[in-house]
Symmetry: C2
Subunit: 202 residues, 2 copies
Amino acid sequence: MNFSSKILENAVDEISKLPGIGKKTALRLALHLLKQEEQQVEMLGTSITNLKKDIKYCKVCHNLSDRDVCEICSNPGRKKGIICVVQDIRDIIAIENTGQYKGLYHVLGGIISPMEGVGPDDLTIKSLIDRVSSDETEEVIFALPTTVEGDTTNFYLFKVLKGLNISITSIARGISIGDDIEYTDEVTLGRSILNRQPYSGS
Amino acid sequence: MNFSSKILENAVDEISKLPGIGKKTALRLALHLLKQEEQQVEMLGTSITNLKKDIKYCKVCHNLSDRDVCEICSNPGRKKGIICVVQDIRDIIAIENTGQYKGLYHVLGGIISPMEGVGPDDLTIKSLIDRVSSDETEEVIFALPTTVEGDTTNFYLFKVLKGLNISITSIARGISIGDDIEYTDEVTLGRSILNRQPYSGS
């Protein structure tokens, strides 16, 4: 594309480096920004610059945080005995949004994937073992994806944690609430029969 | 969404104000940025901040520019006698990409639309009349959208320009190159028959 302005070209080039945003969308976004108040555009620019510069990772659970220890880990109202292992900070946001979980988290930073060259040492597994060994941990919940890589990671974690005196659980897999049985995929349906639960009347 | 970090929340809030980007996409983009080099993220932030602060509008044609007069208007190789009237800077980029036009442009900044409260005074029509009256202009080309608003704007411009001694043309409308006649919409096909052109053998 031929731009009449280097400043515009720069902005479009930088914006189009974002995933899923091509040159045309980047141009549309840049022209949208030009129609906004200067203050508004500056707030966007500054918030992006600050993002990488000022953000920290929680020393305990590796969650993103503004402080050395994140809000969840430093909240005295949370149950310190339960640690939910997730792949990514997005999973924490999703679980927090349910309002059903009051324990702590541990962000692995990925899952074991030989195809992508991610081994146990690239994840925060050592820090998880340290936490579980030294703390008052009673339970570790696996909340990793149901993929081959997720299952491999679950299995690896199970092997390294089973010697410690804690209960190891996994979040329930089954048919989504509201889904029809006839349209559920075979693997999910099969597993949901194998892992049937005592009927509790709810 | 519950974020563990105010800095992340700020960035997501600001990014999700962009058109077509919701909270989930904004979070995905923010987490992507966190995985990039700090320098890369800062370049994006700075290029956005500079965009609104430093960009100028060409005094002659109202194109976006880094200088008072844009590259096209100040290029001695362009034909000063021809002015192509467009709605928006994106149209300039599209026409420039064809490499077929060597004249100048005039960016209206919109089209007349009573529905959206845009009248002739909100556009750069006065500046166009000044340019056409005082310059060595020979031809004005209308390259506005083929909508009711576009046609209204064409008609308005024609009325105010026809007194001046210039030729007024419009870009050719017809069946796109490569399109099948049977699948062309009625209006386009009808007009392309009415506006048939002498066969030039090419």
